[in-house]
């Protein structure tokens, strides 16, 4: 075994990895890195679906009185565009990073529950397919991604369109919840010796906050969907206005979930950007403690502002004031973060890689979205803006300019770690500029069309209202984005098969994940490293960068004896078996448990398409299969 004194060969031949390949190994994998990869591939595939939907929407709106699609199809497309991008693209893209990065960043060999992790992924995949397939048969959900009841009840949405949405979201909720429980456990107690909470990398910290938001926010929509499910399938009256129901019940429950969801979508990106900027500025993140605290504060405040989505319903002065002020308050910790990223770059030795460009663009674009967000935090202003394209502009700056740009930066940054190969920087530059120009061309004019009164969700509009030019520009922007997306896809696919020349630490970064080979061996860390500061790798390679950080570890000796070794750059690539590290067995059982669970939910559709008997038989059958799969999973040994 190499001693820490011998410099690691820069291009240590990556392990003949694991010897795992072929379809079966992917179906049965419980390795967090491979599951992360599955999440990445799947969500990028869905990105193309959601992007195509957006492209058709923009084609329709390019000119007044567009004839590309009918109103019915348009409704399905905008509903599925939102649903796909939120639940099938951005959340799982974040999940790809949770999976891949969290154990590596905290110095763990896997997540706390490897098989549950596989289960989360399969539920996501099957749920995603379940909710996407109807698009191709003209029966896709068509009531918006927020599915307002009573619009979504049988009376106003007959047919099975909404059924797919209700059940699909329930399924995806299970996936998120299982994953969140898993990551909370992992972060709380699988950290390497010395990796205290105050030394955790910012991505892990932000992910930690996000998992709590998932655990606490999803129940609200689960119950709201449960009511809707019962209304649609069993004739309850939760959203039945004639029976005295309140049309605001759904809105409240939905947005209790919906607002935290916004932060669920963007906080992981905050984390990624907080990894990218210090690396390419070659100095530690500015104001670490404040960054952590403002992340927690955002998560906390995020639960108390949901009704700002409902100013237009007339909740009264007290409620409007409280929710308005609360919303503006969130601007403070968010602003602090913006300043900290700038301060991190300030005076740094900047390297403008593609990842860094995406990160900088993220800061700028997210800021624009944040500022327009503070504008409609004020109820009177919001009344002018609500349901117009101004809002569409706002949240696309947050979710595209913010989340997607940041995640793209993350992909360029971590691709070498995931695969041992670099993405082409040249193609990456094309990708970046196409995205950057395209997204501004598309979404900036929407501020104007919105202010001129163009409502959201209309499938067409008449000429002569001052919206024509802005809409045309928006559509032209989408063409740029599309080109960028194809450049990215080409880059991704080509590099995936390209030359394996990425060293363990290609960017000269400071956190644990870069101290092991690329791609990491199945067990990640041959020995658990003892962590003594926030940038343990810089401590041994670039001590000058961390000179001003606090280093303390009086108990290194004690810890070392029991659990770990002092920090070193790991070059070990032998298999887990050769090293005697117990690894969980691959298993197909989580896949089957996920499949049967999704089938159980899907069986409800038979109530509307077949007969009661078919539905009942199908539900009982799948329930038994599910219980059987879970039993056989739980009774088989982990490792």
């Amino acid at each position: 075994m190499a001693s820490s004194a011998a410099p690691a060969p820069a291009f240590a031949a990556a392990p003949a990895a694991t010897g795992q390949s072929g379809l079966w190994s992917w179906l049965t994998t419980v390795d967090h890195k491979r599951i992360g990869m599955l999440y990445l591939w799947t969500s990028l595939a869905f990105l193309f679906v959601g992007g195509t939907e957006a492209f058709i929407l923009r084609l329709q709106l390019a000119h007044p009185n567009g004839q590309v699609v009918s109103a019915e199809v348009y409704n399905q497309l905008f509903t599925m565009h939102g649903t796909t991008m939120i639940f099938l693209v951005v959340m799982p893209l974040s999940a790809a990073f949770f999976n891949f990065l969290i154990p590596l960043q905290i110095g763990a060999r896997d997540v706390a529950f490897p098989r549950l992790n596989a289960f989360s992924y399969w539920v996501y995949l099957f749920g995603g397919i379940f909710i996407t397939l109807p698009v191709f048969f003209n029966v896709a959900p068509d009531a918006g991604w927020f599915g307002y009841a009573p619009l979504t009840t049988n009376q106003f949405s007959p047919g099975i369109h909404i059924d797919f949405w209700v059940l699909g979201l329930q399924i995806l909720g299970v996936s998120s919840l299982a994953a969140a429980v898993n990551f909370i456990t992992t972060i709380i107690h699988m950290r390497a010796p010395g990796m205290s909470m105050a030394r955790m990398p910012m991505f892990t910290w932000m992910s930690f906050v996000v998992q709590f938001m998932l655990v606490l926010a999803f129940p609200a929509i689960t119950i709201a969907l449960f009511f809707l499910q019962f209304d649609r399938f069993f004739g309850t009256q939760f959203y039945e206005l004639a029976a005295g129901a309140d049309p605001l019940l759904w809105q409240h429950l939905f947005w209790i979930f919906g607002h935290p969801e916004v932060y669920i979508l963007v906080l992981p990106t905050f984390g990624l950007v907080s990894e990218i900027t210090p690396t390419f500025s070659e100095k530690p993140l500015f104001g670490y403690n404040v960054m952590v605290f403002s992340g927690i504060l955002i998560g906390f405040l995020g639960f108390g502002v949901w009704a700002h989505h409902m100013f237009a319903v007339g909740m009264g002065a007290t409620a409007d004031t409280i929710f308005g002020i609360g919303t503006m308050l969130i601007g403070i910790p968010t602003g602090i973060k913006i300043f900290n990223w700038i301060a991190t770059m300030w005076g740094g030795n900047l390297r403008f890689t593609v990842a860094m460009k995406f990160a900088i663009a993220f800061v700028a674009l997210f800021l624009i979205g944040g500022v327009s967000g503070v504008m409609h935090a004020s109820p009177p202003t919001d009344l002018q803006q609500t349901d117009t394209y101004f809002i569409v502009a706002h949240f696309h700056y947050v979710l595209f300019g913010g989340s997607v740009m940041g995640i793209m930066g993350g992909i360029y940054h971590y691709f070498p770690k995931m695969t041992g190969r670099f993405l082409s920087e040249k193609l990456g530059n094309w990708h970046f500029w196409m995205f950057f120009i395209g997204m501004n061309l598309t979404f900036f004019p929407m501020h104007f069309s919105g202010m001129l009164g163009m409502p959201r969700r209309v499938y067409t509009y008449d000429a002569g209202q001052g919206w024509d030019t802005f809409n045309l520009i928006s559509t032209i922007g989408v063409v740029f984005q599309g080109i960028g997306l194809f450049v990215f896809a080409y880059n991704f696919l080509k590099s995936w098969k390209g030359e394996k020349n990425a060293p363990g630490d290609p960017w000269s970064a400071g956190t644990l994940e870069w101290s092991i080979p690329s791609p990491p061996p199945e067990y990640n860390f041959a020995q658990l490293p003892i962590v003594t500061s926030r940038y343990p790798l810089w401590d041994i390679k670039h001590p000058e960068r961390t000179a001003e950080l606090r280093h303390s570890d009086p108990d290194t000796a004690v810890v070392a004896e029991a659990h770990g070794v002092p920090m070193l750059e790991q070059t070990e690539t032998r298999t887990a078996k050769a090293l005697g590290i117990p690894m969980p067995f691959p298993t197909i059982k989580p896949l089957f448990a996920a499949l049967f669970m999704v089938m159980l939910f899907a069986s409800l559709i038979f109530l509307h398409t077949a007969s009661l008997q078919v539905a009942v038989v199908s539900m009982i059958g799948t329930t038994l299969l599910f219980i059987g799969a879970v039993y056989s999973w739980l009774t088989s040994p982990l490792e």
Binding site: I188, H189, P193, G194, S196, M197, F212, V215, L216, A220, D246, L248, H252, I256, F303, G304, A307, M315, T318, A319, D553, P554, D555, V558, V559, A562
Partner: protein
């Protein structure tokens, strides 16, 4: 938490103080008594008093706390569990109160 604390914690995690048989039975007795009082009060004229609901809520909260502290041994267990539960409970209660207020079931002032 420092590493030394972590190690000490590890050593102690399995040997925390623990409620005993006797305590368990006392707890059961208290739960029964409070429940009996709750139901009894329901059948007295006190039911019409404005204090009825707050009193019942207090008794219910007491039962809730007793079960969580002793039967779920949260009182004796690691602080991580305490924070996980209390944090979620506070959030849940907050949402519940906010909804009751928003639907005018609760009035401020």
């Amino acid at each position: 938490m420092s590493d030394s604390a972590a190690i000490v914690d590890r050593a102690h995690a399995d040997h925390k103080a623990h409620p005993t048989w006797k305590q368990y039975k006392w707890v059961a007795l208290w739960l029964t008594v409070i429940t009996a009082v709750e139901v009894w009060v329901y059948y007295t004229p006190f039911r019409e008093s404005p204090l009825f609901a707050p009193t019942l809520l207090a008794m219910s909260a007491a039962k809730f706390a007793i079960v969580v502290m002793f039967y779920m041994h949260l009182k004796y267990d690691h602080w991580v569990f305490r924070r996980l539960f209390v944090g979620s409970l506070v959030a849940a209660m907050g949402i519940l109160m906010a909804l009751l207020f928003l639907f005018s079931k609760l009035k401020i002032g």
